[in-house]
């Protein structure tokens, strides 16, 4: 008996081995996949947003090319320093990253990021021309070279309750004065039928969070009128800050006034909170990235389905004269991109999650990581991902806002889709988009100096003029610390002004 089992076992083991061998042989014989056996690590932040689509599509990519992409995640606040430490210490355990292109100045200068220009030029599948010009020419580019592949389009818009405005016979805000007027009209009224007073405007104003981007969204239209290359943070002559003058003062006044028409604890609200308030119908207006658009169609959480309109960030009929620091009226020369005399400057806050490749990885790994990002960005994948709320990806390709079917399939009504995509198209096609600050240590300029001054002003610790003076002093100090000339070169490089 014993022997019998032994024999049977041996025979079956042999059969298994044979079968396995044949399977293996036929596998290799079928076709040599492009990146067979390559393994690469891609880091991004703990999702579900951004990480979810990467993890979901990595197996498909493996089937297609043979490359294994391991997606590792860290909390958002650690991402910047985790990546830097990995590169700076020479560990190089991370081959690719999906990160904020705002940080790329800090990564490119020390030589950590691979120049992707040649690869993009040789890649037809990515349909580079379909990527909206702003993301192609500014967001993905540094000093004229391409370093990142856009996977997400980030810019802020104003959202309004279309049902309320229609009922009151009001038009969506074109200027920030309109915005205040609408907020004042609806503040204190019941906007969602629960017999409780609701709010005219909900803007995230929490400190040490993401609220400083909203201030820049308000200020953009006052500060920049000559197109993206003009920049809205410093003048390109001597790196003098543009945040201490009549124009920024006006923007601060408006920003502070919106607080009167907001929730009582607005200065402690982050974007998550204001999104929740807006989709539960408690706010008439809000400033946000593309997220409210897709969140508002989620039947599980939204009480404002088909009641949400979106519009390009309101603008101003007066803009900053950089010579005098005064506000001057728009004319054809000062505001070449103005619509009906109003200068809009949509703000690409944060810049949109983008993929970049570690320059110190091996050549085959670099090729595989690039192909993965290209695959993620190709319309076939990307155009589906941007319609799903949980991906955190917002539209950045022309085909994404021209193709209405995508959005109808995702559950938007035709009117809402047209409105949402119209606002996106208006913003993306606007040549006067404000590029976020991307010079080295931009976090100190924005997250520390700007954020602290604005919040102190909101809390009544200092007045508007003191806030502007503090921003100017603080920015100048950092600029001098890091070298005014180097910072100016970097600033120009991000704006596409070539350093020759």
């Amino acid at each position: 008996m014993k022997a019998g089992i032994g024999q049977a076992g041996a025979v079956s083991a042999l059969a298994l081995l044979l079968a396995g061998g044949i399977a293996l042989w036929s596998g290799t014989a079928a076709a040599q996949l492009k990146h067979e056996g390559v393994e690469a690590t891609v880091m991004t932040f703990t999702g579900p947003q951004i990480a979810e689509p990467l993890q979901r599509r990595a197996p498909d990519f493996k089937e297609l090319t043979g490359a294994t992409i391991n997606v590792v995640t860290v909390p958002f606040s650690d991402l910047y320093s985790k990546l830097l430490t990995d590169f700076a210490t020479g560990t190089n355990s991370i081959d690719g990253m999906v990160f904020a292109p705002q940080w790329m100045g800090d990564y490119i200068e020390p030589g950590y990021l691979e120049d992707l220009t040649e690869r993009v030029n040789a890649d037809d599948a990515i349909q580079w021309d379909d990527v909206a010009p702003f993301f192609r020419d500014f967001s993905a580019t540094y000093n004229g070279r391409i370093y990142t592949i856009p996977l997400d389009g980030d810019f802020q818009m104003v959202y309004y309750r279309s049902d309320l405005l229609d009922e009151a016979g009001l038009a969506p805000p074109k200027t920030w004065e309109d915005y205040i007027e609408i907020a004042r009209t609806f503040h204190g009224q019941d906007l969602n039928g629960d017999d409780k007073a609701d709010y005219g405007s909900c803007i995230a104003k929490k400190r040490n969070a993401q609220s400083y981007w909203m201030v820049i969204s308000v200020a953009g239209g006052f500060l920049q009128s000559q197109g993206t290359g003009q920049g809205a943070f410093f003048n390109t002559e001597d790196m003098g800050p543009l945040f201490n003058n009549e124009a920024f003062g006006k923007a601060l006044d408006i920003y502070a006034e919106t607080t009167q028409y907001g929730p009582p604890d607005e200065i402690n609200l982050d974007v998550g909170d204001t999104r929740g308030l807006f989709t539960s119908g408690r706010c008439a207006l809000s400033v946000d990235w593309g997220d409210i658009g897709t969140l508002a169609i989620d039947p599980a959480t939204s009480k404002v389905q088909d009641k949400v309109g979106a519009v390009i960030l309101p603008g101003s009929s007066q803009v900053l004269d950089r010579e005098t620091g005064q506000l001057v009226d728009c004319d054809a020369e000062r505001c070449p991109h103005a619509v009906d005399g109003i200068n809009h400057a949509p703000f690409a806050a944060f810049g949109g999650w983008s993929g970049a490749v570690n320059a110190n990885s091996s050549d085959e790994v670099k090729a595989a990581v690039y192909d993965f990002f290209s695959y993620m960005s190709q319309p076939e994948q990307a155009n589906e991902d941007v319609t799903i709320g949980i991906t955190g990806f917002n539209p950045y390709r022309v085909s994404q806002f021209e193709n209405l079917d995508l959005w109808l399939k995702a559950g938007m009504s035709e009117a809402a889709a047209k409105d949402y995509l119209g606002a996106i198209a208006d913003s993306l096609n606007n040549p006067n988009m404000v590029l976020d600050l991307r010079i080295p240590q931009n976090q100190r300029y924005e997250q520390i100096v700007l954020d602290t001054a604005i919040h102190r002003m909101l809390a009544g610790e200092i007045d508007r003029d003191q806030a502007m003076a503090d921003i100017e002093t603080g920015w100048n100090e950092i600029t001098e610390e890091l070298g005014a000339e180097e910072q100016l070169e970097a600033y120009k490089a991000t704006l596409g002004i070539r350093a020759d």
Binding site: S77, Y80, S81, L84, A88, G90, D106, E109, P110, G111, A197, K206, R207, N208, A209, P263, P264, D265, I267, N268, P440, Q441, Q443, R444, Q447, I448, T452, H455, R456, M457, L458, A459, G460, E461, I462, T473, G474, E477, E481, L482
Partner: protein, 390 residues
């Protein structure tokens, strides 16, 4: 075991007949014996050096330098005391020390009382028994330090002044720990009585300590919002609606302090309860038999017995409270403005933007303040403690 065997073997070898070799061997073993403690303790010393002294020195260097990324890595440039100057005198002064206001009459009065009190203490020490010139010098320095802190607190709280992270932290530590101690002591005295259900309350009072600070922060964020939470009807009754404590600077600081107290009173409570219960009962009973009032029993029997424990728990809590970051970070993010920002949060905010020099400078100043305050407190309580000991 093995060591003892070796020693026995060595000893038997030492007793071996060859006299010259024995003397040599004796010398050698004596040498080895002399150095053995050093050798045995060396690994521990090296670990301590590597794990705590080395980082301390490196961070000291970091606080004197500027950090930036350059091609192929990073660069640390020595800049002397610039980071400290920025915090104490320069552009970050408002953030660390605060904004100074005009001194009011009340401010002058507080300063006068503080100066008078400190001088009186010094005079008392100089006239006392344990007087030494070095001791007086040390005390004079400490008094000057305390006076400067009082001056800072008064200046940043009068007129249009605003406290910076140092004063806010001192508030959390001074007022917060005092409140925690008083309430903890009160609860401990209650639970030490023979009351019905005291076992149940012991467990209940101990619960908050086991909750994560983030959970507590979110709870208090909700409680302090007058439009949400279980207290809404009460706020509404008083006509206090549509606002939040966290919008007001003192409201925010108070909310942080109450949250911190809620979490740490149990710690005070448990330690003090053990101290009260382990005091000698015969003294207490003797005092009661002699007709002492409850207050007298507490003042002259219980208090001296629990004083050493009191000093220890308060010291531990103070050091902990100096490092508070979780509550203000989640509850208010340091806001409104910088009103509720503690020093650790200040350092963290700077670190997050990779201003490593500025961040470590704040951390080092925190270290100085903690050491100064704790040493002063020990020096102040030592005489009382030795008096209390029988």
């Amino acid at each position: 075991m093995a060591a003892r065997d070796d020693q026995a073997a060595l000893a038997s070898l030492a007793r071996a007949p060859a006299p010259v070799r024995s003397r040599l061997w004796d010398g050698l073993t004596r040498r080895l014996d002399q150095h053995a403690p050093t050798v045995f303790i060396m690994p521990a010393v090296l670990v301590v050096l590597a794990m705590s002294i080395f980082p301390l020195l490196v961070s000291l260097y970091l606080s004197l330098s500027r950090f930036r990324f350059v091609k192929g890595g990073f660069e640390l440039k020595f800049i002397g005391l610039l980071n400290y100057r920025k915090l104490l005198l320069g552009s970050e002064q408002f953030h660390f020390l605060g904004t100074f206001g005009e001194l009011s009459a009340a401010g002058w009065a507080v300063l006068g009382i503080a100066a008078f009190g400190l001088i009186a203490l010094l005079v008392r020490y100089a006239r006392g028994e344990g007087y030494t010139p070095a001791g007086l010098l040390w005390r004079a320095g400490a008094s000057a330090g305390v006076f400067l802190l009082v001056l800072l607190i008064v200046l940043t709280n009068s007129g249009n002044g605003h406290p910076g992270s140092l004063v806010v932290t001192l508030f959390y530590v001074g007022i917060g720990v005092l409140a925690q101690y008083c309430i903890g002591l009160g609860l401990a005295l209650l639970c030490a009585q023979n009351l019905p259900g005291r076992k149940f309350f012991r467990v209940v009072f101990f619960l908050p300590m086991m909750i994560t600070p983030v959970g507590i922060a979110y709870t208090f964020r909700m409680l302090s919002d007058t439009t949400k939470g279980p207290f809404t009807p009460i706020w509404q009754y008083f006509g206090w609606t549509e606002t939040s404590w966290l919008v007001d600077p003192w409201g925010a600081r108070l909310a942080v302090m109450i949250g911190d107290a809620w979490q740490w009173i149990p710690f005070m409570f448990v330690v003090l309860l053990v101290a009260i219960e382990s005091q000698p009962q015969d003294q207490r009973e003797a005092a009661l038999v002699d007709g002492a009032s409850r207050w007298q029993v507490f003042r002259y029997v219980t208090w001296p017995a629990i004083l050493p424990v009191t000093v220890t728990v308060v010291l531990i809590r103070m050091i902990e409270a100096f490092k508070i970051i979780d509550l203000p970070n989640v509850l208010t993010n340091g806001g409104p403005g910088i009103a509720s920002e503690s020093m650790t949060l200040h350092a963290y905010v700077a670190w997050r933007a990779l201003d490593l020099g500025g961040s470590t400078a704040v951390a080092y100043l925190l270290l100085f303040v903690v050491v100064f305050v704790c040493l002063s407190m020990l020096a102040l309580t030592r005489p009382a403690e030795s008096e209390a000991r029988p």
